[in-house]
Structure formats: C-alpha cells, structure tokens
Amino acid sequence: MVEPPIIEVRDLTISYDGQPALRDIALDIHRHEIFGIIGPANSGKTSFLRALNRMDGFNPGMEVRGSIRLNGKDINDWRNVYALRSRIGVVLPLPVGLPMTVYDNVAFSPRLRGIRKRAELDEVVERCLTRAALWDEVKDRLDSLGSLLSGGQQQRLTIARALSQEPELLLLDEFSIAVDPVTTMRIEDVLRELRSELTIVLVTNLVQQARRLADRTAFFLMGEMVDIGITEDLFEGKVRDERTTGYIEGRFG
C-alpha cells in the first residue's frame, strides 16, 4: 500500500496586496523525500514555504487561497496555529542566531513544549547540535551568544534549532546563501541522513544542489509551476516544458 502524501496542495494562489505571487499550484509531497524547488528569484518559492507554515498571519497584505493539507488535514482547520508551526521546522536564507546562549537557542523550542528538566534539555541540545554538525565546534562554549557565532555556525545552529522542534517537515529556503562551500557540503550530508526520519522541502537557487539532494524537483517560474518530476528525469531532459531545460542548463536565471 502506498503511503498517503504528507502534503497535498491544490489550487494554491498567493498574492500580496492583490498582486499575485504564485498561481494555481497543485502538487503532493511524499513522506521521507527531499522535495526540491528551483527557479529564479521572485518566482514564488519563498511564498510557497511561508504558506505551508501559515506565516501569512504575520505578513500584512499576504493572502493565501486554495488548500494545503498536512497529513490529510487542511492547515487552516488547525485551531492552534502555533502547534501547527511547531510541527514544521524552517531554515531561512540568512542565518539567525537568537541573541541568547547557544544552549538556550536549541533549548528554546523544547522549553516552549514544556520540557523543564535540565538533563532532558541537555540531551536534546547535544543530540540536535551533533546532528547539525555543530557540536564539536561549540561544545565548550554553549554559554556564548548564538547571535555572535560565524555565519556558517549560525546557519547550523538554525538547523539544530529546527531539529529541536522534532518536526515532521523541514523547510529550507536557500540555506547556503550565507554559508561557505565546506559548510554547505556538511549541511548537505546532514540533510541526506535526515531523510530517513523526516520530510524535507528544499528551495534552492543552485540547480546542482537540487540534483545532488532532491528526489523530486519542481520548477517555479514567475509565479507558476512550470515542471515537476523525478529530479534525474528533469536533468536528463525528460521535461514537460522546454523552459525547464533552459533554466537547468543555465541559459537564463
């Protein structure tokens, strides 16, 4: 029996102050896959992630229509939207270490969930930092400010924080923009390992990154989903739309 998709999107249209940013999207995201979204700037990739997390409530002017189902339940039917967001981890393009200690950064979400015991928090902090490939670098200075780490470290801290939510869905938005190549490679390794436990949506402007990581990939262009399919198929030219090949081969972007 095929498992039902974790995310089902139908007729999704997003607009800002009446200006559409994304039109008529329909797609499924399967459990335990890395789903890549590629496309040039302003093609609606980030808006899509925001809608999944119901961040429209925090963005005046942003309007979301259509339906998004998480585990078969429409995300607008959640009575406690904060509980919904806590199921979804988010990593944004620019790393954000919160202005508190490294330890408190990672313990933030567990504490929100009511975990108070020091031993339990210690365990979560070490596990998440280790999985985000940051533990070895910060284990001796867990008391220093998270916001003063280097850019690459802050991005891994952000990932550790997202993991501390124990999410079923992890959304990454161009995570490698502010990170050096070595760190990018390390984070990519981390993501491959995580695939066994959760579902990852990876928005990237690096076509090769999608090829390295994603099982399936969608191509967004100017607010429309031009193509979707198995990543290797797209890269081998099995496309619905010629523009996809054009973008992948770097002819525009």
Binding site: W78, R79, N80, Y82, A83, R87, L112
Partner: protein, 295 residues
C-alpha cells in the same frame, strides 16, 4: 496535538491587555477634553459672553460686576510666544543644521547632550531664573524699572522651546537620503551649497513641523511665563511691558476660586481654548510631516 493550550490562551489575554494599553492614549486625550469641558460647560452655556471673551481686555473675575475679557491674555500669550520664536526659530534651525550637517564625532555628541540638558531644565527653574537672574540683568542693562515682561519671558520661552525645534529639525534633515548629498557633492558643490540647494528644500516640511511644535510648546508653557512675564493684564507696546498669559492666569487663580463658580468655569473655559488651539497646532504639524512621507 492540535489543541489550544495554556500558551494559546495566555497569548490571547496578553493581546487584549496590550490593546487596552494601545488605545489608552486615545482614551486619555478624549478624557482630557471631556473633563475639562465638563467643568467649563456651565460657564460657556451660561455667563460667557463670547463677544466680551474675545474682544475685551477686562479680565475682572473677582470684581462685584465681573467681566471675562480674555483678549489681553491672548495677546500676552501671543506676544511672549512671538518674541520667543523671533530669536529661537533661527537659532534652533541653525543649531540643527550645524549639529546635523557640519559637526562630527565628539563635538556632535557633546552638542546633542547639551541640547538635551537644555530640554531637561524644569519650567519652574526657568521661571526662577527669569525672576532672579534675568530680571536684575534687564533692569540694569536697559535702565528700566521692571525686568519682568515680554522680553524676559520671551527669552526664557525661546530657550525652552529651542530643544524640541532643534531635535525635530535635525530629524527632518537626517531624513534626507545621503544619496542626494553625494550626488550633489559629486557635481562639485560644497557642503553648504548642498545644504542650501538640496537638503533644506527637501526637508522644508519637517522644518516647518519643528517650528509648529516649538510654537505649541511656547504657547502652552505655564510656570516660566507666570513667573517671568510680570503677570499684569496689559496690551504690551514695548518688549519691557509686563503681560499676562492664558496659562499663567489659570495657574495663578484656580487655587482661589470656589468650585462651580463663574470664575472657576471661566478658568476651565480658558483651558478648553488652550486645548483646542494646541490640538490644532499639533494636528497641523502632523499633517505637514505626513506630507513629506507621501512623497
């Protein structure tokens, strides 16, 4: 998994409380209008003769045949505020230009702090300075019998209103994007030419708002004017004449009135008048400032 937990409810309650705090300013400003009007209303609807109020200089609330002409008080306030603005507006705008456009580093910081200190001096201390330092100084310098009057109160008031004008004017200058300055300087203009031809025209609405707020400040000042103006009902003909201001009249007389009497109501009526005028001044300043944002 999806249930409204304690945090959800706490968030809702916090939002409601914070909202109440948010609208408190509106409640208070309405409250001020309502309560001041409430105490003055009987007088306004009863004994007040609007013609007398605005055209007579006879403010004789305690005589057997009381009259409530507030013209001299209005002229008093206007003359002191006007005199203050006469020297304070240019000085404040000049100071804003110097601090905002010429001064750098430590000098700039020091001058800003001194302007802040100027703003911090309480009005009763200013009044005391007017009485005990300026008064003898004016008598000696100009060889006049009394040093409490338009000149004294005007100088004090000008210094009091200067910080707010300087600060707001400097903000207005700061709001002009640096790219304007750089573009003009790249064409070979000196700093001063840039200021004169680019910065000042671009910020003139903000500068106007600064002046308006300074006028509002001077108009509403109470203790300093009460103590330094001589507090005599008089249409001034020279800067050395004593005058009496609207604000000062309330401060000096309210303590001696009987609750609910015509005199009491008349003082609250002056309050309504003051409230409305400052409200209009502030509203105008706000509209003027909003004008720049739109551009």
């Amino acid at each position: 998994m999806d249930r409204r937990d304690l945090a959800w409810y706490v968030d809702r309650v916090a939002q409601a409380l914070v909202f109440v705090g948010g609208i408190s300013a509106i409640i208070f400003i309405l409250g001020i209008f309502v309560f001041v009007t409430k105490e003055g209303l009987d007088f306004v609807l009863g004994a007040l003769d609007p013609g007398e109020f605005f055209t007579s200089i006879a403010w004789r609330p305690t005589s057997n045949n009381p009259t409530y002409g507030a013209l001299a008080l209005m002229v008093g306030t206007a003359s002191v505020t006007g005199f203050a603005m006469l020297f304070s507006v240019p000085l404040s705008l000049g100071a804003a230009l110097y601090i905002g456009e010429f001064a750098t580093g430590k000098t700039r910081e020091a001058l800003k702090i001194l302007v802040e200190m100027l703003a911090a001096i309480p009005s009763v201390v200013w009044g005391f300075v007017g009485m005990s330092i300026m008064n003898p100084l004016i008598i000696e310098t100009f060889d006049v019998p009394v040093g409490l009057g338009v000149l004294n109160a005007g100088l004090i008031l000008g210094l009091m209103a200067a910080p707010i004008m300087t600060t707001i004017a400097e903000d207005a200058l700061k709001a002009v994007p640096d790219t304007y300055r750089e573009a003009a300087e790249a064409l070979g203009a000196t700093r001063w030419e840039v200021i004169r031809r680019v910065v000042i025209p671009a910020s003139k609405n903000g500068l106007l708002a600064a002046v308006l707020l300074g006028v509002g400040r001077g108009f509403g000042e109470t203790m300093a004017v009460l103590m330094a103006s001589g507090h005599a009902i008089n249409l001034p003909t020279s800067p050395f004449d004593s005058v009496r201001a609207l604000t000062a009249t309330i401060a000096a007389e309210l303590g001696d009135t009987v609750y609910g009497s015509n005199h009491y109501g008349a003082l609250f009526t002056l309050g309504i008048f003051l409230f409305l005028v400052t409200f209009i001044i502030n509203l105008t300043a706000d509209v003027v400032v909003r004008g720049i944002r739109k551009k």
